[in-house]
């Protein structure tokens, strides 16, 4: 096979690995924003998910001694999900019930969540004597493909389709499920109506508060899984706050990039994953590496500008995004 093809395949596989955390982060935020809540706390939520997920798996292995890989993956997902739910429950209570400004509350959640994630990561490190390690056999369950070897060995198709971690396939299934939920189910329609025009939804007898709460809390839980995926796959099962910082914000940007469509978030997150690692794989002479590294952010800016310039009706955010609903206010 020519060198070029091999390089491209390696790039795509790496892009999928780096894109998977984005996929979860973005899907969670899409669900949240569809309800009209703009949760800018994704960064903090992903920090919490990463730290709590890692802690859950670590203590599970420590307590049982002989840990089961599949159970460990489930423990990781559940711990991260619950951490994200708690974080976004705080956000929901303050914005939906107490009607505080969503932007500022989201920023507060970012500060709080990164603090909590850091704190848990540090605290575990100190209380466990300097190092949090997960056994290699267990790491494999998080990082290796769930498919048998012969499928992965198919030329070209094998590595691209079958060699990613189990989380990528979960993310794709989740994206499809969310698409069907939003577009094909009655509850999804209700949720969208709450996001577009809460007053109309309220008049139609839809419980705006309940839909907003559920979408925000579940969305936060999904985003948090992304943080856990980052720590368990890319960071190699150790707490790495430097690597995780910025991922949540890019996930928020990806929501706009994908125009609030769950299916688009699949390729969107792979594209962003590619941008994150391009500097390692593809050397362009005369461009210093540090400049290369800012590429994802530059692309995001360009996307923001272009999508605002085109300004088409079907590409708009939910009408009620970022606005709190108070029935008696006109």
């Amino acid at each position: 096979m020519p060198e070029f093809v091999n390089l491209t395949i390696a790039l795509i596989v790496a892009a999928i690995t780096y894109g998977t955390p984005f996929l979860f982060g973005t899907l969670g935020e899409i669900l949240t924003e569809k309800s009209g809540n703009l949760n800018l706390g994704v960064e903090g939520i992903m920090f919490m998910g990463g730290a709590v997920g890692l802690g859950g798996v670590f203590y599970y292995e420590k307590l049982t001694g002989n840990a089961n890989g599949i159970v460990a993956v489930i423990v990781g997902i559940l711990c991260a999900f619950i951490a994200g739910c708690i974080a976004s429950l705080i956000f929901s209570f303050i914005t939906i019930t107490l009607r505080a400004n969503q932007n500022v509350t989201g920023l507060a959640l970012s500060i709080f969540g990164t603090g909590v994630g850091q704190f848990i990561g540090e605290y575990m490190r100190v209380s466990e004597g300097g190092y949090i390690a997960i056994s290699n056999s267990l790491k494999g369950f998080f990082q290796n493909s769930p498919f048998p070897a012969f499928l992965q060995e198919i030329p070209v198709v094998g590595p691209i389709l079958f060699s990613s971690s189990v989380f990528f396939y979960m993310g794709v299934v989740l994206a499809i499920a969310m698409h069907l939920f939003l577009k094909r189910s009655r509850k999804g329609l209700y949720l969208r109506s709450v996001g577009e025009s809460p007053a109309t939804a309220d008049a139609a007898g839809i419980n705006v508060t309940r839909y907003r709460y559920l979408a925000t809390v579940i969305g936060g839980g999904i985003s948090a899984i992304g943080g856990m995926v980052y720590i368990m796959t890319i960071a190699g099962c150790v707490w790495n706050h430097e690597g995780l910082s910025g991922v949540g914000w890019l996930a928020v940007a990806l929501v706009i990039f994908c125009l609030w469509r769950p299916l688009s978030s699949i390729w969107g997150s792979i594209l962003f994953g590619a941008l994150m690692i391009l500097y390692l794989r593809l050397n362009i002479p005369f461009i210093p590496m540090q400049i290369y590294k800012i590429l994802p952010y530059v692309v995001t800016v360009i996307v923001l500008i272009v999508s605002s310039m085109r300004n088409q009706k079907e590409n708009q955010p939910p009408e009620g995004l970022g606005l709190n609903y108070f029935r008696e206010e006109r």
Binding site: R99, A108, T114, G115, F119, P288, K293, I305, S308
Partner: protein, 372 residues
Amino acid sequence: MNKKHEPLIRLAKREMMPKGQVWAIRIGSILLALLLGGFILMAIGVNPIEAYGTIISGSLGKKTALRQTAKIAVPLLGCALAIAPCFKMRFWNIGAEGQITAGAIAASYFALYWADKLPALPLLVIMGAAGAIAGGIWALIPAFFKAKWNTNETLFTLMMNYIVIGIVRWLEGGPWEGRKGSQVIPQFAENACLPRVLGVHCGWIIVLILVVLMHIYMRHTKHGYEIAVIGDSINTARYAGMNVGRIMMRTMFISGAISGLVGFIVASGANGTLYHGVADGVGFTSITVAWLAQLNAFAMVAISGLLAVLTKGAETLQTRLAVPASISEIITGILLFCMLGCEFFINFRLILRAKKQQKEAAAEGKEANENA
């Protein structure tokens, strides 16, 4: 009316609350936050009273500690002042981090390459001006697109942070690198560093002057009034004939310029050099300061002091009681949650079922009287 379906608690907008009551609620929310923080400390096996004591003695106890606390408070306060007009305008500028860094880069250029040509005073003035202009331009870019095409400013300003920090990383390892391979920009010459007053670099005087200026700007000028109108209702502003786009760009330039000035103060006064962590999260934390202070310039002095005490105290806490220093971020977050939440009780009135009926009865009675 069907009494069965009447909810237990109903909400109504409150008109005006007496000032004393408002402050009682706000101070109560701060106490609640400290109490919640205390529970977290207790959960990890630390005596909260001892911990808070350590925070206070570690940040205010000694002269050196006090100076360090002031050093932390200066950029926080300066940056909060920068953010205030944007947030008043409901323009969500979370790019102060980048605007600080941009200002620091421009100031550093003159510090590195002009220090041998100029004496201290003109050099520092030029550095400050360059920092302000660079920060202003960095803020103007997202404002321009917001004004022209309504581009989402929250994410735009945020991305600008990472871009400019990446540029500093490149400068560190590339053109401005000191010793080859060190990945560090050399220390500034003596005449490019801010002089000390009372043991702290004189940036604190600049920032305190800015407090007064910003207060006047926001409360007593036409610009400040325009910003307030846009914040309340863009449509009203348009109807009144204001050029919303221009005001937005102007305000963002001013905001970025102040942040850039803060960048100059930090690089020249506190660090004596430029590195990629020059902003060190100040751009985000100062949003907290500005909002907690209700965008009131004088209140920001107190809030930034409070957060600086928390940050410096948490460092002491880490060395003395082995509590990770990120506890300060957690307590800051809780503080913000509580203070955001408490506004609800100031703006809304809770009406309990029974109470409401009495009131309605009273109102009906009054109405009947008036009709009669």
